[in-house]
């Protein structure tokens, strides 16, 4: 199963490159014209076309594109004039820090809530949790971000409105400000980066939590009616132990499959949430590129996220195969 997934990775990546190439080189008819600007003279457009190999036949352009992507060369940003790959790498830690905290919060809060909601099915708590998850899944991430910003930053003034830190971050070790601050023993910076993290993290965590609560609840209900739980209860194993050890383990396997989906949602959420909080990560990079029509950067972002996404899904498959004896 896992071997099969790994085998399919190269063709999937190739397909991804093909799609991104098709969007950037086939749908958009004349990138050189866009780069040069509306009123550029014809010679200048032609020179640009030649410089980037846009005057070659499409198949040849595609081969060049595949070669470049495989070696990590994503071209130059039309706006910052820096290699796009460099820009993406330098912004990756900010997004990862945000996403990791969000997913940790979502799991730590979501799993117990899902279990309790399942154990007390149709209780008041279950209904409240259900209402909250239904709302969480229907909310537009950018709107939730603005709502939190309005309430906590603008009205109550307890969190910063935008940004990641005052001035410069701690000297990078991992690129995660919170971890770097702890490693350097700088507790003031640590507290400050937590305050900046709070709202964007919460915005990303709430919808992820809704998904986790739903799947954990469904998983627990499913396992609770299975024979082995009946058997364990009949054996006199304490209820608490049956629930938090055996039922939870089986139920979590189903939740785990959703981590890939949740991660995708987090990246999608990051695009708009980072814009609202001016968080210097991949998402705001993508949005800035949109605003500046920097299509080279957008396509590289798409490719980059696709690769990360494929790897995460692979990891989830591996983790599931390890945890679930049926998959072996």
């Amino acid at each position: 199963m896992v071997a099969r997934r790994i085998m399919w990775m190269p063709p999937t990546l190739f397909g991804l490159v093909l799609i991104v190439f098709a969007i950037s080189h086939v749908i958009r008819s004349d990138p050189a014209r866009v780069m040069a600007g509306e009123n550029a003279p014809a010679e200048q457009v032609q020179a640009l076309r030649h410089k980037y190999g846009l005057d070659l036949p499409l198949p040849q352009q595609f081969l060049r594109y595949v070669g470049d992507s495989a070696t990590g060369n994503m071209g130059t940003s039309l706006f910052t004039q820096r290699p796009v790959a460099e820009d993406l790498w330098s912004r990756l830690p900010a997004t990862l820090e945000l996403a990791l905290y969000a997913i940790v919060i979502a799991v730590v809060a979501g799993v117990p809530l899902g279990v309790v909601a399942a154990l007390r099915r149709n209780s008041l708590l279950d209904h409240v949790v259900r209402l909250a998850t239904v709302t969480g899944l229907a909310m537009a991430a950018f709107w939730l971000a603005i709502l939190l910003q309005l309430t906590f930053s603008m009205w109550l003034g307890v969190t910063p409105v935008q940004g990641r830190i005052d001035g410069w971050g701690p000297d990078p070790i991992t690129g995660f400000y919170t971890i770097d601050a702890v490693l350097r023993g700088d507790w003031e910076t640590f507290g400050q980066s937590l305050r900046y993290l709070a709202l964007p993290m919460l915005t990303l965590a709430l919808p992820a939590m809704a998904t986790i609560v739903r799947f954990t609840r469904a998983g627990v209900l499913n396992v609770m009616s299975s024979n082995f739980v009946f058997y364990q209860t009949a054996m006199g194993i304490p209820r608490r132990r049956v629930v938090w050890k055996y039922i939870l383990r089986s139920a979590l396997i189903g939740t785990l499959t959703q981590i890939g989906l949740i991660f995708g949602n987090l990246i999608a959420g990051a695009v708009v949430v980072e814009t609202v909080f001016d968080w210097p990560g991949l998402g705001s990079f993508a949005v800035n590129s949109i605003l500046q029509s920097d299509y080279n950067a957008i396509m590289s972002f798409t490719l980059f996220v696709g690769v990360v996404f494929i790897l995460v899904n692979l990891l989830v498959d591996v983790a599931q195969a390890v945890l679930d004896p049926r998959g072996r």
């Binding site: 397909g15 229907a138 909310m139 603008m154 469904a218 299509y295």
Partner: protein, 283 residues
């Protein structure tokens, strides 16, 4: 009829049905329902950014237009985008899944691999790339959403068709000499229709969310179109004073997406007794 009656008995599904019906009504009767239908795209500086009150029920925006009226006309855009994009995605995905699931050969593998590649990127990221390339316009949003969403239906129909492939009634139809097209259209399709309907209903909610995000990022229909996502983006320059400006369109999106999700969940319970709520599949 029985389906409808059972749907109404489920309280949350009924709520979903009511919300969706209200959305359709709002879109169809936007003109008579609006308090200032003629001023939706006008510039009226003296009435800029007024808070909600008896004249402007939900306040006014930066152009001095009535937000309540704009929301009603925005419902038309939301419906247009969601219905068209979902329909196109269904029209691509369902036949693809049917063919792939029915034949189960090399071609099936290829089709499913193609859909996997599309699913390898988060939907909104791919939609952003396409919409950005094509430029901000309503038809480009629809195209971007259709291209990113068809694999969901292809996957679903493929799985369902494959599980039906060895059922006796399908084999009987083939043995009686029915052509593959006839078997697919008259025997397989009706049996999987209910799952397609459920998926489509829930898919509408997802499409609306992504469309709003595209609008928020400036990739939706250009101003002064009353698109909900763009309205929220515009409001950001006037916070925290003009809170109603950001709140109203966001609540509209929330309600509509919730409506489709609740209706979809309810339909699943009614149409597909194998997957009652709280069962194994909660997606």
């Amino acid at each position: 009829m029985r389906t409808l009656r059972r749907l109404i008995r489920d309280r949350s599904a009924l709520l979903g049905l009511i919300i969706v019906a209200l959305l359709v009504l709002a879109a169809v009767f936007a003109w008579p329902l609006a308090t200032f239908p003629q001023d939706v795209t006008n510039y009226d500086p003296p009435h800029r950014l007024l808070p909600p009150g008896s004249i402007y029920w939900l306040g006014t925006d930066r152009m001095g237009a009535d937000i309540y009226s704009r929301l009603l006309f925005g419902a038309r855009i939301t419906i247009l985008i969601a219905v068209t994009a979902t329909t196109v995605a269904v029209l691509i995905g369902v036949p693809m899944g049917l063919v792939a699931g029915y034949y189960n050969n090399r071609l099936s593998d290829l089709l499913m691999r193609i859909s996997d590649v599309f699913l390898a990127v988060p939907q909104i990221v791919l939609a952003i790339a396409i919409a950005q390339t094509l430029g901000p316009a309503i038809q480009n949003v629809i195209l971007a959403l259709s291209i990113t969403y068809w694999p969901f239906w292809a996957r679903l129909v493929y799985a369902e068709t494959r599980s039906l492939r060895n059922e006796v009634f399908i084999e009987a139809a083939i043995a009686l000499g029915a052509s593959p097209l006839r078997v697919m259209a008259l025997h397989v399709l009706p049996s999987i229709a209910s799952s397609v309907i459920v998926r489509t209903t829930i898919g509408m909610g997802g499409t609306i969310l992504v469309a709003a995000a595209l609008g928020f990022l400036g990739l939706g229909p250009p101003p002064p179109t009353p698109e909900w996502g763009r309205m929220i983006a515009e409001s950001r320059g006037f916070l925290p004073q003009a809170w109603w400006y950001a709140a109203a369109p966001g609540i509209a999106i929330l309600l509509v997406v919730m409506g489709f999700n609740l209706l979809g969940d309810g339909l699943r319970d009614v149409l597909d007794p194998r997957l009652r709520r709280g069962g194994a599949d909660a997606s």
